[in-house]
Symmetry: C2
Subunit: 195 residues, 2 copies
C-alpha cells in the first residue's frame, strides 16, 4: 500500500536492532484518516472472504482493526494481555513472547466471542518473528474457528514469521513489506536495487 | 445518547460490586458501527471547541477515541500503561489506580506529542472514581496543554469522579449516565422514577 510505505519513509524512525518506530502515526499517536484508508485497503484485499469477525491483539492492533471491521460490518475482537475482573475465567489462552516489551504475555479471548462458526480475519500492526500472530492463530484454532486471512500493516520479511505462516498455507497480505535496513534507512520490497 | 443507553440495556451485564460489563460491544468485542455513531455524537457536542488532539488511555479508550479524532481531523493519542523499548524516557508520567484491575499503573505520553499549543479533547470509556481521568488531565497539565473538553461513554454519576471534575470547571459530556443499580438492573439518569 503506497500510502503507508510513503508515510513510513517520511515519518518512521529506525532504532538500533532493526526496530522501526512508528509511534507518531500508528503506535502511540494515531492518524485516524490513515487507519481508515488502511481499513479500506484490507477490505479490498479480503472482501471475497466471508469474514464474520476481525481479531487483533491489544494494544496497537485496535486502531487498525476497528475500521476494517466497520467496512466488513462485523465485530472487532481484541485479545487481552492482562487479566481483569470483568473478563472471568471462561477464556481461550495462548502464551506469547514480546520482543519489544521483553516479556511473556497471555493472550486471552472470551469463549463467548469466538466459535467454530467464525471465519476470522486477523489484523495486526507488525509481523516479524510471528509471536503475536502465533497466539492469535492459536486462539482461533482452540475455538475451532477458520482463519479466513491475515492482514498485517508492516511486515519485516527478513524475519521468520511471514514465511512460516505462508508455508503453513495462510493467506497473508502485508501493506508495507520491509526487506531490510541500512543504517537509518528502511528498504522496502521492490526497492532493493535502487541506489 | 439514546442508542448507547439502549445497547447497555439490551447487552450489558451487571456484576456484583456495581460493575457494568460491556465486553460484548465496547471493552473486548467492539461494535465498530456503534463506535462511529458515538464518535459523531461526541463531535456534535464538542465541535465548537478548536480541538487539536484527542487523548485517551489504552486499552479500552482507543476504539472509542479513534472515530472522534477522525471526525475532528486531528491525531488520536493514547497514553500507554506499559513501558516499551520504543517509547523511551522522554515522557510525561502520571500514576493512577485501576479498580477493575486492582493495581497501579503509570500513564505515559511522549513529550513529542503533547504541548502547550494543544487543545485536548479527552475521551474515555468509563468515568466512576475518576482515577484514569485524573491521570489524563494531569498529563495535559504537565504539557501545559488546554483541556478543551472531556467525553465519556458511560458515567457512574453516583461515584465521585464526575462531580469532582465538573466542580473544577471541566466541560464533561457523558453519553450514558448511570445513577445506580438495583439487583441486575441499571438505572439511567432521567429514569429514576420509572417503576
Amino acid at each position: 500500500m503506497d500510502k503507508l510505505v510513503e508515510r513510513i519513509k517520511s515519518d518512521g524512525t529506525v532504532f538500533p536492532g532493526e526496530i522501526l518506530k512508528v509511534d507518531n502515526f500508528i503506535n502511540h499517536m494515531v492518524d485516524p484518516e490513515l487507519m481508515e484508508e488502511m481499513g479500506e485497503d484490507f477490505y479490498q484485499h479480503f472482501h471475497d472472504k466471508e469474514v464474520t469477525k476481525v481479531l487483533t491483539a491489544e494494544v496497537s492492533g485496535i486502531a487498525i482493526a476497528t475500521p476494517v471491521a466497520k467496512r466488513f460490518k462485523v465485530p472487532m475482537l481484541f485479545a487481552k494481555k492482562s487479566q481483569s475482573l470483568t473478563l472471568g475465567g471462561n477464556v481461550y489462552t495462548s502464551r506469547i513472547y514480546s520482543y519489544t516489551k521483553e516479556q511473556h504475555f497471555n493472550l486471552r479471548v472470551s469463549k463467548d466471542f469466538l466459535s467454530a462458526d467464525d471465519k476470522v480475519l486477523i489484523i495486526d500492526d507488525f509481523l516479524a518473528n510471528g509471536e503475536a500472530l502465533s497466539g492469535l492463530v492459536d486462539l482461533c484454532q482452540q475455538a475451532g474457528a477458520e482463519v479466513a486471512g491475515i492482514g498485517i500493516a508492516i511486515e519485516k520479511s527478513f524475519q521468520a514469521g511471514g514465511e512460516k505462516f505462508r508455508q503453513a498455507g495462510f493467506d497473508i497480505y502485508s501493506q508495507a513489506v520491509i526487506v531490510g535496513f541500512t543504517d537509518d534507512q528502511v528498504i522496502f520490497a521492490g526497492e532493493e536495487d535502487k541506489d
